[in-house]
Symmetry: C2
Subunit: 335 residues, 2 copies
């Protein structure tokens, strides 16, 4: 899947996954195609509406958003997410993008594409926005609720490779998420992880270890790759999403609360829009599952067509960069 | 400490604790005194500046912000935080307020006031703002990095009593913080906790158990008391603080980025101020350590004088409400 030239292959898009699927997904796919990315829509052909002539891989079943991932993927063999993962496995597509059930996208990728040799557990890598700089990648954001210290060290290695491929950060700074800046603060997992991290030759991995990082510094640009267990990462991700949603709703309501302030909209809204766009990047920027033998990109369930299009482009780029090959090489180097 | 009338007793204020101590703390204490709360300043008399005639309990040592809590408290017997905790223990003060080293405030309270009988571990309860409603109390926000399921159930019991005392919520809704709405989602601790929670007679505790809650709903008003381990709670708290700081900085900069938009300030700033004030409540609202035999209130290190004054008033109210007595009764009822 990795060494060959993938630029002519399409991105397999799970057309049935997402809160506004298939409409928003198809629209996003069309936008991506307009931007020059080849797309393979996977789903129920008669439900896709006007695909604008995009290729379609028929799949008769759908894994619903709330469904139990592993059993659904095993049972629904003709589901859009399973067929999309198979398209990558079979060399028919270079990457997978889904805005549907995250657990199902993960399970389908694991079961159909398989794991990179030497990877203990794949992890979900999510970019957190940093103003004036490249994002900070937090992983794991939900693939593994329980983690071993060794896995977190490996997540760091995967994150370093990803950061370099995606944002051209040559020597990513690596940190462990914890509850105090001093060494020795944290829970048992963090303490054990920090000991292991300190013994790694990060220079050989083209990275530098900057120690502990507190939640408050997650968006301060103090590290490029931050590792934590999947429970903590997911809770942080969702909590920040929740705060942003509340903050934005309240700010927008306040800015319409009197005729006088509403009259400033034409001046105020344009300067606030880019701020909100950046802050929302954690929600709208696609996450990538690192550790599978193919690119699996995951978009937020509530993604708009524009967000989907962006995620498809990113998935395409990650495939063309051969990020899976680089991940494999990094893991092999320390096997 | 609990059954007697405390209204005439002062709140012992750690004058030396906090990023802007003692100046901001003394100013906050004076504001609280102006509002009718009796205050006992604890610290180095010659460093306190103009105390406006407030009572002072001399203490010659200071536990620094970054110091290791337990050993510092053991070693610095004449530190302001230790003397303040002793004042509560000795019935000389009705409550303690510190904006200093949180771990030291916790350790001093535990060692000097002691634990309520039957409480496995005290927990830090932090109010998260909910627009249009009373806050949601998250605990533990950092007292215990590693937790047992039984402790989380007890945290919920403590939180219920606290919620009722502080915000007059008659039948608090109780939830467990996790990473999916469905039962069975979460890490091992959460799964075990949910099983225990489901078996509790919450009706008898004057509460209702509403199941799991995701991070994104923490500020949505779906529960009054949410429990998690202290590592997760602290990471969430700090992450939200970090996002709010970044968001506010960027929004305020954007609103000054051109002369045209800066000219709207007189109209825009007044409507945004209350929104920011509410969103910052998680940072500025005092946290309470639940489970010690005396009221220990903890303010953010960066607290302003106004925030300190508010925290002192809250500490005073919690003492006058005999929240410690209510907590003891709730734990005794199920012993």
């Amino acid at each position: 899947m990795s060494a060959m030239d993938t630029s002519d292959l399409p991105v397999a898009v799970d057309a049935m996954g997402g809160d506004f699927a298939p409409a928003a997904v198809v629209e996003g796919a069309r936008l991506a195609a307009d931007a020059g990315v080849r797309v393979l829509l996977v789903g129920r052909p008669d439900e896709l509406g006007d695909t604008g002539g995009l290729e379609v891989l028929p799949a008769s079943e759908v894994v619903e958003m709330g469904a139990e991932p592993a059993s659904s993927v095993r049972r629904l063999k003709d589901s859009s997410i399973v067929r999309a993962a198979e398209a990558v496995r079979d060399g028919r597509a270079k990457a997978l993008l889904s805005a549907g059930n995250t657990g199902a996208a993960m399970a389908a990728s694991l079961l159909r594409m398989g794991r990179i040799k030497g990877v203990a557990r794949p992890a979900i890598a999510v970019p957190f926005p940093v103003f004036g700089s490249t994002p900070t990648t937090l992983l794991d954001c939900g693939a593994n609720a329980e983690c071993q210290p060794e896995w977190l060290v490996q997540f760091a290695r995967l994150g370093v490779v990803y950061n370099r491929a995606r944002w051209r950060v040559e020597h990513p700074r690596v940190a462990v998420l914890t509850i105090g800046e001093e060494a020795g603060k944290g829970n048992d997992l963090v303490k054990a992880t920090c000991e292991l991290m300190a013994g790694v030759d990060w220079d050989a991995a083209g990275a530098q270890y900057v120690g502990n990082l507190e939640g408050r510094d997650l968006m301060a640009g103090l590290a490029d790759v931050v590792v934590c267990d999947g429970f903590t990462g997911n809770v942080v991700l969702k909590s920040l999403e929740g705060l942003m949603a509340v903050a934005r709703t309240q700010i927008e309501a306040a800015l319409r609360s009197t005729p006088e302030v509403a009259a400033t909209a034409s001046v105020v809204d344009p300067v606030l829009a880019p701020v909100f766009a950046t802050l929302d990047a954690g929600q709208t920027g696609a996450a990538m599952l690192l550790g599978t033998r193919g690119v699996c990109m995951i978009s937020h369930g509530s993604s708009s067509a524009k967000t989907i299009a962006h995620a498809i482009r990113t998935a395409s780029e990650m495939a063309d960069e051969d990020v899976v090959g680089s991940l494999r090489a990094a893991i092999e180097a320390v096997a």
